[in-house]
Amino acid sequence: MNKRLYLELENCIGCRSCLAACTQCGGHDERNRNYVYDVNPLVNTQTMPLMCLHCVNPACARSCPAQAIQIHETGAVLSALVEKCIGCQNCTIACPYGIPKFDTEQNLMYKCDLCIDRSKDGIPPMCASVCPTNTLQWLTDEEIERKQKQFNVKNDKWVTSIHLENETNVRVNLPGILQGITKLY
């Protein structure tokens, strides 16, 4: 039953539904906390989403002087507690993926919390529930494993698990066929 967010990056068509959906989450105060990037802007149309990967040992929380960033029992790394965040922005510097956003007016950091009001009850986060191309999925570990087997191209060049900085609760995959070392689109 334990499900995780699973990203199949190359499915992304850049529609930014995930950004719009993010704003509509109950706890998100109408501000989105995720990103969609052009891989090679002005040259081709490939995009990829980027959101908090919910590290098992999160650098943001380790660098927080106020213990404002809590880790939920589901593994989700939550936004700063509003009463504790002192606005030092250590978390934005520490995050290896550049995810936390900071509101200077409110002196408050906010970030993806995997829509904790939804995901704690097993409901997929807003982004995953609206993604039209299955870039963002909400899957069990078995389903993810099955997918990884399916995408494991045995040409000695392509590995399905992308190297990240650390162990994360969100799983990322690029289920394409590798041509050369650089992937072509």
Partner: protein, 359 residues
């Protein structure tokens, strides 16, 4: 909580007299309170023994406070901010920052006027109550009457003024805690209403963390007001009983304060330290992003974060010759996309587009 044997201070240092920071802080605080009370009560001749329960409660609270504060201050990131914050305390902007962060709560105003109002009511209700009760409990302030109908207000053993028992100052003194109780009750009711109605609050709150402190504050205020009510309208019926309930609720709240949501009260001054730290070091030496060259943070903070992560065995040094904390946020995100795709997105000089959806 570490013993001072690890520090390389000279043998004659006062720190060596104590087993730990905690023991030292506790000893000095209780000693300070004792001296102040000795002076304030004119050598313990004017102690209000009716309030001794609060006195014991306060000392237990101080124990809990130091335990929590010192344990927290030992964490590497907190230690950096405390140390550098104290060094930078006398900046020109400190009074303004302090006023905005600790008195007018400007950042809460920006989160919403409703939330600001409730916070002002609860915050100042509690702070003003403390200004009244603690001096009374420790005997720093008391009243005497030489002439009939005229109260002397004695503060720290000095007769500050003599006021008419019917006058406005006397009335304010009698009713100070009633006024603050009404402030706190209004504020807590506003908070409870918001927590029941606001979808965002409902998504995140838990009973024990968010509601318990509110219920404790409500209990303190209501039982306090009940004391006044019993005195004025019931000829004191039930007053001894209610005063014990009130005392119990205050002491429990005090002891709980450093451990739950209310812990943000003693920790909040760190936000002034953090602001000073950011401003000072940004003026000293801003840090250019290793990819795009934009200034995004101070050199000091970037290094501090790298060191703090190092003490946690987290190392984000890349083969390109930079640490991830040396990249500005958009470049760091683009660098991640580059790791995913194999194409160096972060090297392309194009601004990130359409990252904000309007909800």
């Amino acid at each position: 909580m570490q013993a001072n044997t690890s520090t390389t201070k000279k043998a004659g240092s006062i720190n060596n007299a104590f087993a730990s920071h905690f023991a030292k802080s506790m000893f000095l605080s209780v000693l300070g309170l004792l001296i102040l009370s000795f002076i304030g009560t004119r050598m313990f001749t004017h102690v209000d023994l009716n309030l001794y329960g609060y006195m014991v409660g306060t000392i237990v609270f101080i124990g809990g406070f130091f335990y929590r504060f010192i344990a927290w201050g030992e964490r590497p990131p907190a230690k950096i901010f405390i140390k550098k914050g104290i060094k930078l305390l006398f900046r020109k902007s400190t009074p303004q920052t302090t006023a905005e962060h600790l008195i007018t709560y400007r950042f809460i105003w920006n989160r919403g006027i409703y939330r600001w109002t409730q916070h002002i009511l609860i915050g100042f209700g509690c702070i003003l109550s403390c200004f009244v009760t603690f001096p009374l409990v420790f005997g720093w302030m008391y009243f005497t009457m030489d002439d009939n109908g005229m109260y002397n207000i004695i503060f720290m053993g000095i007769q500050v003024m003599t006021v008419s028992a019917e006058g406005i100052i006397a009335q304010l003194s009698y009713n100070a805690l009633n006024i603050t109780a009404v402030m706190v009750i209004t504020g807590v009711c506003m908070v409870l209403y918001r927590r029941l109605k606001n979808m965002q609050a409902r998504a995140e709150q838990t009973f024990m963390y968010d509601f318990l402190p509110l219920i404790m504050l409500l209990l303190v205020s209501v039982t306090g007001l009940a004391l006044t009510f019993m005195n004025m309208f019931l000829h004191g019926a039930g007053q001894p009983f209610m005063s014990l309930i009130h005392q119990w609720s205050v002491i429990i709240t005090l002891i709980y304060l450093p451990f739950g949501k209310l812990a943000h009260i003693p920790f909040r001054p760190l936000s002034v330290f953090a602001r000073n730290y950011r401003e000072h070091y940004m003026e000293q030496a801003p840090k250019p992003c290793k990819v795009c060259g934009d200034y995004f943070v101070s050199v000091e903070q970037s290094n501090d974060v790298i060191n703090v992560l190092g003490t946690n065995d987290i190392e984000f040094a890349k083969k390109e010759g930079f640490h991830l904390a040396e990249l500005c946020l958009p470049c760091r995100r683009k660098y991640r996309i580059a790791q995913f795709s194999g194409f160096p997105t972060h090297q392309v000089k194009v601004k990130e587009a359409n990252q904000n959806a309007n909800g």
